[in-house]
Symmetry: C2
Subunit: 324 residues, 2 copies
Amino acid sequence: MLKSTPEGEPGVSNFALTELAIPVLSDKQVLCKTLYLSLDPYMRSQISGRHISGSIKPGDVLHGETVSEVVESLDENYKVGDKVRCMGGWQEYSVHSAKELTKVSEKIAPSSYALSVLGMPGLTAYAGLVWQAKPKAGDVVVIPAATGAVGSTAGQLAKSLGCKVIGIAGSDEKCAYAKEQLGYDECINRRTEDLASRLDELCPKGVDIYFDLVGGEILNTVSARLAVGARVILCGLMAEYNQKERIGGPPPGFWIRSRATVYGLVVYDYEHRRQEFIDACLPLVNNGSLKTREDIAKGIAAAPEAFCRLMQGANMGKALVQVS
Amino acid sequence: MLKSTPEGEPGVSNFALTELAIPVLSDKQVLCKTLYLSLDPYMRSQISGRHISGSIKPGDVLHGETVSEVVESLDENYKVGDKVRCMGGWQEYSVHSAKELTKVSEKIAPSSYALSVLGMPGLTAYAGLVWQAKPKAGDVVVIPAATGAVGSTAGQLAKSLGCKVIGIAGSDEKCAYAKEQLGYDECINRRTEDLASRLDELCPKGVDIYFDLVGGEILNTVSARLAVGARVILCGLMAEYNQKERIGGPPPGFWIRSRATVYGLVVYDYEHRRQEFIDACLPLVNNGSLKTREDIAKGIAAAPEAFCRLMQGANMGKALVQVS
């Protein structure tokens, strides 16, 4: 649970581990044992009280999506052993009504993929890139957090659609991975390279699609370099999650000049199209053309440290906790 | 002509009047006498060197759209007496090739309307509101500079489409005009009322469409109050035209939270649809349901003062100079 609200970057001391009895089921409830817990940057925003999905205060169990296994069921539609996706939170066990559960198809293997490339981060990438930005072959696409759970999927999808894809990442190791494994044309190390001049070099005609996952100065720098007709997906705000106050955006003149269309993206709005996304991406995952990498910590006690690493950008791939 | 580049609000001393000989025509040129000169906020941006249409430096004649009359013609398609629309600039006479001229239909009367409600400001309002924002009946629409050339047209169009229309203006006189003559449901005096709390009162479910003409703090305040699915048209930056540097925009989180779609609007992109706009709006102007008001200064020597008044928001309606 959250022990205290961090100022700036969270530390493991902001979290506490407690033990509670497993509730006795009533009505048609289902008891689930957590297999994998997803750790995502939006959780920092919940802790700050700024996320649309709700706030987390000291004493609250942290929310989080899980792949879980049914271990006891009073609902005829769920049998012991079924794998489900639910908001199990940072817990070893969770109790749900049937309407809070979604079965995880056996075709999704390993089942952790239902939280990564074929789960919420994958759907986010697909909705923003394919449904909102509508890439055309030859478009120049820029993706920050290029090797992260959303960015790595968006980058590979853009590449498969014939775009020139430029990543931005926080280490040489991540840049090498982006280029060598994920197929990015280029990847800029934001800690050691000058982003503005590198973008000028790599995108002399401007940026057609910018899939923003970070906000802050990177959003500003890319917005100053958009091509006419650009599309900008606003999807994440890593730069402000650790800040007390929201950070202002780029001067609107950048978006007027480029006649940009800017889309605010909240993945929940695309839940009704999840199957369409899975149908499109499952074959790509299975044939190896849509790669994923998971950064898996072991045991619920490891969740705080893994989350803090995620917020420092020290993870490599989708941050997960294998709980049991 | 521009005499010196102003810092902050321009004054009449930044401009100078000079007299030059009327050029002798060559090839298929056409000599035009300016009837009306349009004064527009974007001119301040040209003086700052930040407008996409080009920069104005000391010694340059200021640009500007005019309704002019052909007084001499070497082109068979233009006869003496024809009324045309062209970029005549801040001048009594201007020389053009035929391809720089557009005939002004006799149906547009007075011909100054080709620079106001049936001209560029009207087309801007129509493109942003109707083609980009696509209003639905019941939408809550907020328009700053509510009585200005663009705002007054957008406001009346939104009202005619069944929207609830809230204006923002800089004086009680303008607010009264917006409500009594233009049909706004409400109009907020930004100099004497608290915009945030008034918007909270008037738009308890949030703002569906915001047609931004000003940028700065008003854009920020409205963006914090958008409804889910909102559309924001970015079209003008009055707040920064007098500033040395561009002003940052709202925190992107406001646009993510509301799943806003934000459109950068440059009216030149809609030139090819001008006739479609005129066909839609001319009947509304003629039957009195689309009203316009023009703030007309007399004589080219009056242009600097009229422009400075426009940049202070002291004009009432479309700023024009009747040159001859």
